[in-house]
Amino acid sequence: MGNRYYYYLIAGTMTANVVAFVPRILINSRTDGMIVAIIIGTIIGMVLLYTYTTLMDQFPGKTYAELLDLYTPKWFSIGFTLITASIWFMSGLLFLLGFTFIARQFINPETSLSWMLGLLLIPLVFGMAMDSKRVLYATEIILLAILPLLLVIFIKAYTSDELDYTTMKIPLMHIGSMPTYFVIAAAGYTYDGVMNLAQFNKVFTRKRQIKYTMYIAIAAVGITNLLTASLVPIGINGIDGVGSLKYPWIVTADSFRIEFGFFERILFPFLLLLIAVAIIVILHHWHVSYRFFVFTLHFPRLKYKGKEMMPYLILVSFITISFIAIQKVDEPFIYMIEKWWFAIVQPAVTLHIIVLLYVYWRAKRCRDV
């Protein structure tokens, strides 16, 4: 498959994070090191992205779970695959819960949370069981339809009269202060879409060989994305006012009007498009997680009419956990978990890569001998 599918994995996560929790975490530290956090986060994110891509490129057509199975002891490969699958599931779940709240709060306030969650789960459950290749085909279609429209909205934001460039420069004045780890982790998280290669590497049966210019381009797009996510709300809402906003970008998008058209408020198309991107990103996470669970959890005895039941049980447990979770959490709690989650995910991902390095070393030794 073409290299372009690799970029879609990265682009999805970057875009979806514009609305969810990353801008709020960044903006909360707008006067203590936001810009530095963006830069450090980008550097960390890009190093992880580069290492992971290059390492996975050594094993064309192999998934992470298959590699563990081949090159590490059985107890470790099963255990670590399950841990990885759980991390991926959790990432997707937090995103899903966050967007359930957003969709209910801003579009359908009368709908109950579980009812809304049920809706968002329909395409996810259908998509998870699809072939990895087909997931990427769907991703391409949806992203190619949506990203230009989002770009129009961003351009609209940058050309808006209300955007105050002087205010946007204030965070730059605080460039000397050091950000907290949480902010850096949140900024770095936007680059983690590439980690979905853990499963999607299966479809890249030839070596990708991404050029260095492309990595620079990814970093440039990532920085632009993070700056847009954080600075535009500051420029529109003011350096103090923006602090009280729960979803800075949503309020920001609602401050624009289209004068010549059928609809007036940009908020609705913006949110609907972002929900679509979010579904794609959650789908990527859950697809990886689902495949890893199916790869590890084999119970040949659990059969009904000659079909193995385990995949269905995994799907059902995904659904059940989501429904239980939505009952237990509220919005401040989700924000807090998400903040901690970003902080936990970075070391977890680093560990994930270190294990892959070990696998690479083993594989190389095996080939030499």
Binding site: M130, D131, K133, I141, F263, E264, R265
Partner: protein, 434 residues
């Protein structure tokens, strides 16, 4: 790899007093009456093989000792090769077809070729070969239908065909255990992997020019004796939105028409659902003036928007269905009566709003912009699925419904080829990767 013997080629031997003359020709291309009067009868009347040889040479258009290429091309073009003692003579004997071929009625073009397939397989093969005079065009005849034993022709150009697809078609044909297969449409349903389907996985066409175009692209064509439609395998989603006119118009004009069709698709799919979603859930999305004018036109309507939409859509579907089934002389009455009732009276009785009338007509018109009937029917049904999402969830529901539709379409396959994907880098044989 599947065998590539061409069963269309006939070798007929004329024997007299130990001398043998072999006639080689392509059955579907030549006129069998002429063959009888020009070759078989004189052969036995002349009785001297040398004089017969002279006679053959003096026939119109005769060409002696052609090269192999010339001979193959000649056979594909409807000539008879007469061989005798290493001597080969090629005589054109193309069948002139004046009967049964009619103008296309389902898939019309403005300036394309006029004729459509007929219900006779030989005539259809003749129509295809007439437009594709290439010796590599190969035909297999299989027998289909446990009881009806109809001839099924598989046509392809053996130099460009994807062998994997060809094998799959032959294998799937073998598996079909249906007593009677009347039409290619039924065959298309039998080809599909799932038992309950909504989207067609193969283009069904009545146009020889479309078939020829697709043969040149390396596709496999399946035709059944007795059906005026040919099946093209594999077909992808985008194929259903092409009309043969696209190839006959200047580039930008055909791009414009393509754009129109996809717009029509979106309008037909989304507008009813969006109406419900916006009116009942998020009227604040619209411009204030527009929201007010919609609200004003709905003022007298006593029930929620979805009842209005379902009522009008149902009426429209009934009208469409009735005008298809009725004889032509009566169907104009239906449209007039239906149009009057739906258009004027329903609004005046404040059963529906005026804007609803516009929406329903827009939906009805745009649905028929899709050039291939199967896809247009599928989309006609799909709009109700999106409508249900719109009724229960408003705008978010419609977005999710669309995503689900895209996921479903991408999960489909047409003879191993992914049904919906974006083709940016051209790779002809993607099936190997699937």
């Amino acid at each position: 790899m599947h065998q590539q013997k061409n069963e269309d080629i006939i070798k007929q031997e004329l024997k007299m007093n130990g001398t043998v003359v072999t006639l080689t020709y392509m059955r579907s291309m030549i006129d069998s009456n002429k063959l009888q009067t020009l070759f078989v009868k004189p052969f036995f009347e002349i009785k001297d093989i040398h004089i017969f040889h002279e006679y053959i040479h003096s026939l119109m258009g005769a060409k002696s000792n052609p090269t192999d290429d010339e001979r193959n091309d000649g056979l594909a073009g409807g000539s008879v090769a007469v061989s005798f003692n290493q001597n080969v003579t090629l005589i054109p004997l193309k069948k002139d077809r004046v009967d049964i071929v009619k103008e296309s009625s389902v898939e019309k073009t403005i300036q394309g070729p006029r004729f459509a397939f007929t219900e006779d397989l030989t005539a259809n093969l003749n129509l295809v070969r007439n437009r594709y005079q290439n010796p590599h065009l190969t035909m297999d005849i299989k027998v289909l239908g446990e009881r009806s034993h109809m001839d099924v022709a598989i046509l392809y150009d053996k130099t460009v065909v994807n062998p994997a697809v060809l094998d799959l078609v032959v294998e799937k044909l073998k598996k079909i255990k249906e007593p009677v297969v009347e039409t290619t449409e039924k065959l298309q349903n039998l080809f599909s992997d799932r038992s309950m389907t909504i989207f067609p996985v193969a283009v069904i066409t009545e146009r020889p020019d479309r078939v020829v175009y697709n043969i040149a692209q390396g596709k496999v064509i399946v035709m059944i004796d007795g059906s005026p439609f040919a099946l093209i395998a594999p077909s992808v989603f985008w194929d259903f939105f092409t009309s043969m006119d696209d190839f006959y118009q200047p580039y930008w004009i055909s791009q414009f028409f393509r754009f129109l069709r996809y717009t029509g698709l979106l309008i037909g799919l989304l507008i009813p659902a969006l109406y419900v979603g916006i009116v009942s859930y998020n009227p604040e999305l619209l411009k204030t003036e527009l929201a007010l004018s919609i609200a004003a036109s709905r003022q007298a309507v006593p029930y929620p928007s979805y009842v209005e939409v379902l009522f009008m859509l149902l009426m429209m579907e009934l009208l469409v269905e009735a005008s298809i089934r009725l004889p032509r002389s009566i169907s104009s009455t239906t449209t007039t009566v239906g149009g009057l009732i739906l258009g004027q009276a329903a609004t005046q009785a404040s059963l529906v709003s005026t804007i609803m009338i516009i929406i329903v007509s827009a939906v009805a018109i745009s649905n028929f912009c899709i050039p291939l009937n199967h896809m247009s029917m599928a989309m006609r049904v799909m709009k109700y699925v999106l409508l249900v999402f719109g009724i229960f969830y408003g705008l978010v529901g419609i977005m999710i419904g669309l995503l689900l539709l895209i996921f479903y379409l991408t999960s489909l396959s047409s003879f191993g080829e992914p049904y919906l994907k974006i083709y940016i880098q051209k790779k002809p044989n993607e099936i190997k990767e699937v």
